[in-house]
Symmetry: C2
Subunit: 150 residues, 2 copies
């Protein structure tokens, strides 16, 4: 008998756990030539793609993690010279963060490689399947992001 819709939701949940681990490991290898890890790459991306220089809580909100978690990576990225704190005129204790010249070059290079990678991968999928997967994952994010568990 075919899997029910409920069975598929279980499969998807388990796949997310497993794929998270695989993606994080793959990302560590992928970003290693640039001197990054998956975590630092994501923080770099959050800063690079923000419409305005963000502070730490804004980066955390964008990534869906806690500000304390972001803090560790930010401090490392500042030490490494990829990210630079700007004085925040609106909040003396909460600097805004921007990429340094080096940070921009690094993120530009890895983002190019990533885009080439997904363009290659995309050939293996139909547009309809990818659209459906985006719909399903977005709905799950919406649900589990708001639902106070029973």
């Amino acid at each position: 008998m075919n899997p029910t819709k409920a069975d598929n939701l279980t499969t998807i949940s388990l796949s997310v756990f497993r794929l998270n681990g695989q993606l994080a490991e793959w990302g560590n290898h992928f970003s290693h030539p640039h001197g990054l890890t998956t975590a630092r790459w994501q923080v770099l991306g959050a800063i690079a793609l923000a419409p305005q220089p963000p502070n730490i809580p804004q980066i955390a909100a964008m990534m869906g993690v806690t500000r304390q978690g972001v803090l560790k990576q930010i401090n490392l990225l500042v030490d490494e010279g990829l990210v630079q704190p700007l004085p925040n005129p609106a909040h003396k204790r909460s600097p805004l963060y921007v990429l340094t010249k080096t940070g921009q070059a690094t993120f530009g290079a890895i983002d190019d490689r990533w885009n080439k990678h997904v363009q290659k991968m995309a050939a293996g999928f139909t547009g309809a399947d990818l659209d459906a997967a985006v719909r399903v994952l977005s709905a799950l994010l919406q649900f589990y992001g708001n639902e106070p568990s029973p």
Copy 2:
């Protein structure tokens, strides 16, 4: 302009990271009344659903994590009386693990609740979308599980 297939793959990748965090947190709440965490629940499930009592490396392979990671949870589950080591006739140092009476009752109860949960959730999705999502995630698992990153 509509997102390209490559854009959707990027969206899916970021969604997996974020959904992993949300699911883990939700699972901690969901399993808390049973005295479990998401991690222990998964280990319990791996043992419960194995066709034969597994040893630690087999559980790790089933879950896609390292045997050392499983070891920590197993030792806790044994201490809590949910899991029991059996002497392994085929390998003196590698016991097989089964659920205790308590472990079976606990897993049965939480698995029932989970199944009720996904059955409710399933109403919000079309069968076609869920099938497509399973296809996409399975293909990604296949790819990232085998690909030595460039």
